[in-house]
């Protein structure tokens, strides 16, 4: 577990620069994979937002795609129908829209717990999917929303076919998102979230406004997910129904669990491993892919609850002990 709290040093360790080094290296060394890379970066940001509420605050949700989808559709609709095409403006608009959705649904969901809460997250995501599916004139329905054109960033950098611009935009946005999330989890607010996850009764008893804190983090998480959604729209210049519903939510949960939940960098490792494996295997062996995912999930929760990073930590500890 990455250590936070009142005795933890917030200094950025050298290992924490590695993902960014890798991100820049990919840009120069693997130019033919930049569109795929942009997709991975988008998912890392999305997973990071989920980690904030699942890993830190302990809210189990099956509907996080609602915010990603809201961001994606708002950016797409503004670009395709309103002809508002500035990518930065679209990111901001998606953030606001997802934030509004987050604070209104959060106000409802966070008053409940257990099965009811789980069910509400699922129902709200299903509702969003149904709206996108049926409001065909605005969203394009099952055919998806096409005709999305995005203007160059600052009027200078146009979105190219190889995804160079998109990749860099995603990388910079992710850096900003990571910095924000990192500050949050090292702050007293972040310590409170861990406290709520560990024992919400006790948080009430020490006088913490639990509901308000949860609503705050839920809204922030929704906004970050909305940004990720808008990034996906700008990269692909298209929005499909597959950004909404239970399946993308479940898939994201799988990525996060694979990387390691509640440890910040699990949100980096999970999507990278998952999406590369999916790209390599899923098309040739779709059935075995799902079988493998299912098996992996069961094994992770049975034997390796810290995910890949947890395994790496355990391995490192063993090596250190034997040296």
């Amino acid at each position: 577990m990455s250590e936070t709290g009142y005795a933890a040093s917030p200094r950025i360790r050298w290992t924490e620069w590695l993902p960014w080094l890798a991100g820049v290296a990919v840009f120069f060394l693997l130019p033919e994979y930049l569109l795929f890379g942009a997709r991975i970066l988008t998912y890392i940001l999305f997973a990071l937002s989920l980690d904030l509420i699942v890993g830190y605050a302990g809210i189990v949700t099956l509907g996080h795609s609602a915010f990603f989808g809201a961001g994606a559709y708002v950016a797409g609709i503004l670009a395709a129908k309103v002809k508002l095409t500035d990518p930065i403006v679209l990111l901001v608009a998606a953030t606001v829209a997802a934030g509004v959705l987050g604070v209104t649904t959060g106000a409802v969901i966070l008053r409940t717990r257990g099965l009811t809460q789980l069910m509400l997250t699922l129902a709200i995501a299903a509702l969003c999917l149904e709206v996108a599916n049926k409001a065909t004139p605005i969203t394009g329905g099952a055919d998806g929303l096409s005709g999305v054109t995005i203007a160059p960033i600052f009027g200078l950098f146009r979105f190219d076919l190889f995804g160079k611009t998109a990749y860099l935009l995603c990388l910079v946005t992710l850096l900003a998102g990571w910095w924000l999330v990192r500050r949050l989890i090292y702050s007293p607010f972040g310590a409170t979230l861990t406290g709520i996850r560990e024992n919400s009764d006790r948080m009430h008893a020490i006088g913490a406004p639990v509901y308000r804190r949860l609503l705050a983090v839920y809204t922030i998480s929704a906004m970050i997910a909305g940004v990720a959604g808008a990034l996906s729209t700008e990269t692909n210049q298209f929005v499909g129904l597959n950004v909404l519903g239970f399946e993308p939510s479940g898939e994201l949960l799988v990525m996060l669990i694979l990387g390691g939940v509640g440890r910040l960098y699990g949100a980096f490792v999970g999507p990278v491993v998952f999406l590369i494996a999916q790209d390599a295997l899923a098309k040739q062996f779709p059935q075995f892919w799902y079988l493998g995912i299912g098996l992996m999930l069961v094994l992770v929760v049975l034997f390796a609850r810290g995910g890949l990073l947890g395994l790496a930590d355990a391995l490192a500890a063993r090596v250190r002990r034997s040296v």
Partner: protein, 250 residues
Amino acid sequence: MTHTALETRALCKSFGALTVADQIDFRLETGIRHALIGPNGAGKTTFVNMLTGRLAPSSGQVLLGGGDVTRLSQEARVKRGLGRTFQINTLFRGMTVLDNVALGVAERQRVGGRPWRPASAYAHVRDEAVDLLRTFGLETDARRRVVDLPYGKQRLVEIAIALGLQPTVLLLDEPAAGVPSLESGRILDALAQLPAHIAIMIIEHDMDLVFRFAQRITVLVQGQVLREGPPAEIADDPRVHQAYLGERRG
């Protein structure tokens, strides 16, 4: 004039046909050491939960420092000086001992919601938490996770968290429950050291501890106050004996 730290007036609670608190009038004076005793199922925990705001009473009032807090949330009551410990360990198990205490201190200092500067930059929170740990002899355990602590020490952490809220009223729900008798002496020592101005109500089954600690005792039986008075009177009251013997027979 003696000031009443905590008071209830005709407090009632029923679940359907079952009445678990029946017209409880209770006064806790400032700085007093008061014990609440009674057989299992007498409604002690229900009573405490109504005092702290975890449970809403069916009727009656709760007054804290003279002000009516019956409708206030748990959080608001804590802010007005009401602290509590739990009967069953309810700590932040995966967190360090220091963070367990610091979380409460941060809430009291109203910095618990600050989202930007790192927690470690709030030195006044950390220092106060460390001081608290020192008074309980826990400073060397500050960086250990709570789950790795022996049970007796966990109970001390529980009390340290409550003290970090700087309460004027402290409710201790069976502070020595489950602690091996060798270690329970340490709990009693810790209780004896608590600041004199805090009004303390303790719920306890260990009569030895109760009679050594309390200046006043209230006996609760079947949701009603059976008797209230100084320890000597309570010890001699035949009705109290009967209530306890009755429990043993049943």
